[in-house]
């Protein structure tokens, strides 16, 4: 477990370094290192520190937020298919963010969009948690999430339908597809406080997720405060997912795939899966974003598109392998 975590941290650092190295302007490792240290040529510094590094960090942060949120939602809802994307949390966050774009509210303050995205995510997470109170069926819950997702998508389509000009249309499409291109340290700084707060809340509340393995009744029997546990997960995933969406738009499925891969390494304990799932999801998005950047396509592929192309088949595979006993 410990060696696994160390390996994930090292691999993530290596991937972020590789992301600074690779790209349309070829650079040597030495050039990148010098640029990262604030030395070297000004052109190199510009490319590495202003463009590639913040982009790679944004990909990692978004992945970490989605991986941890997915692991926490799966623990809370006791279902390996729960994830911010599937449950409509990302779509709601993205809808709220798009509304601020559409009405030009972003001009008021740079904080408007992250706050809107987080509010959207919190509302959706709360609705999901409320639904989970009413139904024991995981299938119902996922269907309700799919409903949220579709509804948010429909409102987005309405906004696009009514878009006043092609520029706002292009802006919105960028949001929906999900990307970390051209993200600056300024964008990171706006999302970071919420993202870090969300991750901290999830991490502090992780022990209760182990108890939920026993089912809610027995979990409260062994001393879990269910209400507090739900609030922790709702707040944590709302903040982290909202911040991720404000940074990158909608990026789906990484929150399912990463926890699924680490689960067997942590004895299927949702609490222990949180940290490795966050690291692995961050690593996956950094690698996917490198792929997006070096792929020779007529216009740059969007990270969210690639994540869904890989993630959706993985989702289907996980769903098909599930034992149906608990539904």
């Amino acid at each position: 477990m410990r060696t696994g975590l160390i390996a994930l941290v090292l691999a993530s650092l290596a991937a972020i370094f590789a992301a600074c190295l690779l790209g349309s302007t070829p650079m040597s490792a030495q050039q990148v290192l010098l640029a990262l240290l604030g030395l070297g040529e000004q052109g190199d510094q510009l490319v590495v520190v202003q463009i590639r590094l913040p982009r790679a960090l944004a990909a990692f942060a978004v992945g970490a937020a989605l991986g941890a949120s997915g692991a926490a939602l799966q623990g809370l809802l006791r279902n390996p298919l729960a994830e911010p994307g599937v449950l409509g949390v990302s779509a709601s966050a993205s809808l709220a963010a798009t509304v601020t774009l559409y009405y030009g509210l972003v001009a008021i303050s740079a904080w408007v969009m992250p706050v809107a995205a987080i509010s959207g995510a919190l509302v959706a997470t709360m609705l999901i948690a409320l639904t989970a109170l009413r139904t024991a069926s995981a299938v119902t819950l996922i269907l309700v999430g799919v409903g949220f997702s579709s509804f948010a998508g429909a409102v987005m389509n309405l906004l696009m339908n009514l878009a006043p000009n092609p520029f706002s249309l292009a802006d919105m499409i960028n949001w929906m597809l999900g990307s970390v291109a051209n993200r600056s340290f300024h964008d990171l700084a706006l999302a970071a406080p919420f993202l870090v707060a969300g991750l901290l809340i999830l991490f502090i509340g992780r022990r209760g997720l182990s108890a939920l393995t026993l089912g809610e009744e027995a979990a409260s029997g062994v001393g879990l405060n269910l209400k507090r546990q739900r609030i922790f997960v709702v707040l944590g995933t709302g903040l982290a997912t909202g911040a991720a969406v404000s940074l990158a738009g909608v990026i789906g499925f990484v929150g399912i795939v990463a926890p699924h891969i680490v689960r067997s390494m942590v004895d299927h304990d949702p609490a222990r899966s949180l940290l490795p799932a966050a690291l692995l999801a961050g690593l996956m998005l950094v690698l996917a974003d490198i792929g997006v950047r070096i792929a020779q396509t007529s216009s740059e592929l969007k990270l969210g598109v690639v994540a869904a192309l890989i993630g959706a088949p993985a989702f289907i595979w996980i769903a098909m392998r599930r034992r149906t006993v608990h539904d």
Partner: protein, 269 residues
């Protein structure tokens, strides 16, 4: 080999007493439990009997304060159960609910360790008193050899022992178990009841929902009979178990001769 064997004195402080008084539990406009009063103390095994839907589960939930009571109260050693923080409650009363779905295929040892959640256990970092308590529970339920197995690979009987071990690992002075032997073959029913009896012999107090009158007669010190949400009788088997009781509670015809109970069939008309 374990602490269990050289403790001749009770393992548990038998001074704890659960006292339920005039408890009424309602949900969705229905009265599930009405005006129920009973006590449970260390060193006794009490069977709670009654038809499906008689309110047995609701009485257990009301007694430990996880189902809100409409009136009446439940106290443990003088403290109101409904207001007790969940962690403190879990250290005093182990609760084994009727539905025991395990969401993930965790190793047996981890599931048993969750019994010590209120003591601050984090899975994968078991140590000190928690580690010993988990080990004692595994030994008591004969699970040492299965400790590292995934619960997804166990039989129903093995799984029932895992749940018992989970409940015992808390080493709480009282245990409330809702149908711990449901769906088990006769051999495993005896095994699970022996485990609970052993817990009681060490000073624990157990309230166990049962549907098997023969098991109740054989293991319980006291029987509590419920019908339509009310407790209709509470006393030792010799005093409360007879043919009339079986007819009244279950609508079945049967004989009771000493420790022998024979159920013949449903009452006609």
């Amino acid at each position: 080999m374990t602490d269990l064997e050289h403790t001749s004195s009770p393992l548990f402080d038998t001074g704890h007493q659960l006292e339920v008084s005039n408890l009424t539990v309602r949900a969705d406009g229905m009265t599930l439990v009405e005006d129920a009063s009973f006590q449970l103390r260390g060193g006794e095994l009490v069977a709670l009997l009654g038809r499906n839907g008689a309110g047995k589960t609701s009485l257990l939930r009301g007694a430990i304060g996880i189902a809100p009571s409409a009136s009446g109260w439940s106290r443990l050693s003088g403290e109101d159960m409904a207001r007790m923080p969940s962690g403190q409650r879990a250290k005093l009363v182990s609760y084994l609910p009727q539905n025991r779905p395990l969401a993930w295929p965790n190793p047996v040892r981890d599931v048993v360790a969750l019994g010590r959640f209120a003591h601050g256990v984090a899975l994968g970092r078991l140590r000190g008193a928690d580690k010993q308590a988990v080990q004692r529970a595994l030994v008591a339920c004969d699970l040492q050899d299965l400790a590292d197995r995934s619960t997804a690979t166990l039989s129903g009987g093995e799984l029932a022992r895992v749940h018992c071990a989970r409940a015992f690992a808390a080493e709480a002075p009282l245990l409330l178990a809702d149908e711990p032997v449901a769906e088990l073959d006769p051999y495993h029913q005896f095994r699970v009841m022996d485990l609970i009896r052993n817990y009681v012999d060490q000073g624990g107090g157990a309230l166990v929902v049962l549907h098997d009158i023969v098991l109740a007669r054989r293991y319980a010190n006291r029987l509590i009979w419920m019908k339509d949400g009310r407790i209709v009788a509470d006393g030792p088997p010799e005093a409360t178990l007879d043919a009339n009781r079986l007819a009244e509670i279950y609508g079945v015809r049967g004989h009771v001769e000493g420790a022998r109970v024979v159920i013949e069939g449903p009452l006609q008309g």
